[in-house]
């Protein structure tokens, strides 16, 4: 099947506590931080690759296209996913500050209209803005059904439908969704047995997490095409719905940890000082 995977470049999430705010509060600054692929999008790429391969024979079963909307440097992120095994990339050039989930979803819709994928597999949330909205909005704009927070995907009806296990607060909500559709993925989609496509033998166990690019993959990625075009060229409405008036760092927790000698001291402090017992 043909799968589109939108991916976003974000400031290194492992060092999110080093993010700063400009003195006037007008913007978030990420100076000194590396840029990484949004982890949920990396998982989405992994899920798409698993759907589109026979892991035993290494046969490819369909095309996986990655797409990013962002500045020049987003090309590096696209290259990284091409090295993982995606086939080609679309890069919509735009300033990150000019985007919100609606602009992103409209741009993605334009890509979908052109590429006509069977499925869009994407992250449930970009970990910079932590919005968790673009996938559902895209589904609405396309008139496609959406299975969000997928922790498992199993193809059925010869690849036309999917049984998706959605991870929800109270357990697992299973839906059957039929292409064309949008699936947004949660963390556990990259557990060893989370994706079953009928071609890869059921007993095949993937490693934990997303695959690394092999050296061969990295070399191959250099030759794979990235179709680059400006956001303005898509002809979509670029008005945003959000206006951030200021940013602040959260107040630091006071003090820092008080190291206690033993259980007795801990209980005494919880009782007399913290007054929580």
């Amino acid at each position: 099947m043909k799968i589109l995977v939108p991916v976003k470049r974000v400031a290194d999430p492992e060092n999110a506590n080093k993010v700063k705010v400009a003195p006037d509060g007008s913007r978030v600054t990420t100076d000194g931080l590396e840029w990484k692929i949004n982890p949920f999008d990396e998982y989405a790429v992994e899920a798409a690759l698993r759907l589109n391969e026979n892991a035993k024979s290494a046969e490819r079963l369909g095309e996986t296209i990655v797409a990013s909307i962002g500045g020049k440097d987003a090309a590096q992120t696209l290259r990284q996913t091409l090295a993982m095994g995606a086939d080609r990339a679309v890069h919509i050039l735009a300033e990150d500050d000019a985007l919100d989930s609606f602009v992103v979803a409209r741009a993605l819709k334009a890509i979908v209209d052109k590429e006509q994928p069977d499925v869009v597999v994407m992250g449930k949330q970009a970990v910079d803005g932590d919005s968790n909205t673009a996938g559902q909005i895209l589904g609405e704009l396309l008139g496609w059904p959406v299975a969000s927070f997928a922790a498992s995907i199993e193809t059925s009806d010869g690849g036309k439908s999917f049984i998706v296990g959605r991870e929800v607060d109270t357990g697992v909500l299973k839906v059957k969704i039929t292409a064309p559709c949008v699936i947004t993925v949660d963390l556990r989609i990259v557990a060893p047995g989370s994706v079953k496509n009928g071609a890869t033998p059921a007993e095949h166990a993937y490693g934990e997490g997303a695959r690394y690019a092999s050296l061969k993959g990295i070399m191959a990625a250099k030759k794979k095409p990235i179709d680059e075009q400006p956001l303005a060229g898509l002809g979509v409405d670029v008005t945003t719905t959000t206006k951030y008036t200021k940013f602040e760092l959260p107040p630091a927790r006071k003090g820092g940890a008080k190291f206690v000698a033993d259980v007795n001291e801990l209980v005494a402090l919880l009782k007399s000082e913290a007054k929580v017992l």
Binding site: S148, V172, L249, L270
Partner: protein, 324 residues
């Protein structure tokens, strides 16, 4: 003046507590702008749930019965049809609300402020406070659209208490489902076994375990007694959930549940950024870890450097004694 529509979250035919947090937000906005709020109970068992929600001071409570399980494609059209008469539509930032809100927003051409932890009203303008970058930045956002769709965090909005009185309850006819509903079908909701402990997002004490507990047995037999000695809820890190020590729905963090109890005890949890995002709003934080350099020290008030397999049973006994 802003009128607000609260979407109740139903489970097994009852409104979940999350609904009461959304009502709290609605009351704040109504008070700040001189508006009123209504509630929509939608789903299976909507009528009974609506009756239960009539005591919270809403101008009106609507009920829309929709059979079968939840998929957004069957709910969003009705919510949007009713919601277009309001300035704000709100549903709590549970997985239900996070899934549903953007669907409704797209239909209404409304902006979304998801997972908010506060609201302020100034001259009729609403500004929402949101945590971004795993809780490392607060963003203050306004929506430039006529209607706003907002999902408040349960941990940041105390559940509204019944205020007496009885709002009129009215049936609201379901709108036609989306065409896309023909391509998505609810199969089942496999709920995790109900525990006798309080719900994670509502507990005053949360004791969470990490990879350091080493097994499911560690959670049951080492952590469990400590949880119960405090009458608390059990939580976990992602690593513990991924390893299968404990149910996934007890994961706390950026991608799990957000909690803000009076007392949080992190046992054998290193304190990765994504975990801290879900618990650093707790009032008092205790860490038990054999590594004194573990990053959880950045947010802990008290830190016991110890082997948890020795310290936790001792602590359980000491707490039993202290509370006896």
């Amino acid at each position: 003046m802003t009128d607000i529509l609260v979407i109740a979250e139903l489970l097994d035919g009852k409104a979940r507590k999350t609904t009461h947090s959304a009502i709290n937000l609605a009351k704040q906005i109504a008070a700040g702008t001189g508006g009123a709020f209504d509630v929509l109970a939608i789903g299976d068992g909507a009528k009974a749930a609506a009756a239960d929600l009539a005591g919270f001071g809403a101008r009106k409570v609507f009920a829309t019965q929709i059979d079968g399980g939840y998929v957004a494609e069957k709910y969003a059209s009705t919510i949007a049809a009713l919601g277009k008469g309001y300035g704000v539509v709100t549903v709590t930032a549970s997985t239900y609300g996070k899934d549903l809100a953007p669907h409704v927003a797209a239909k209404l051409g409304a902006g979304v402020a998801s997972d908010i932890s506060g609201v302020s009203v100034e001259g009729g303008t609403l500004t929402y406070k949101r945590q971004m970058y795993a809780g490392n930045v607060f963003g203050f956002v306004q929506l430039t659209t006529a209607i706003a769709v907002v999902s408040p965090r349960q941990a940041e909005f105390e559940p509204a208490q019944p205020s007496g009185g009885a709002s009129p309850v009215e049936d609201y006819a379901a709108a036609a489902a989306d065409a896309a509903a023909a391509r998505i079908e609810f199969i089942s909701l496999e709920q995790t076994a109900k525990s006798a402990r309080p719900e994670l997002s509502e507990a005053a004490v949360v004791v969470a375990g990490g990879r350091g507990l080493k097994s499911a047995d560690g959670f049951t037999n080492v952590l469990g007694p400590l949880v119960d000695s405090l009458g608390g809820a059990m939580g976990a890190s992602r690593a513990a959930c991924d390893a299968g020590y404990i149910a996934n729905d007890l994961q706390i963090g950026q991608t799990g549940k957000v909690v803000a109890p009076k007392l949080y005890i992190a046992v054998g949890i290193s304190g990765a950024i994504q975990h801290l995002a879900g618990m650093k709003g707790s009032k008092v934080i205790v860490a038990i870890n054999k590594d004194k350099e573990a990053p959880v020290a950045q947010v802990a008030d008290y830190f016991l450097v110890a082997d948890l397999f020795k310290a936790v049973p001792e602590l359980t006994e000491a707490i039993k004694k202290a509370r006896a």
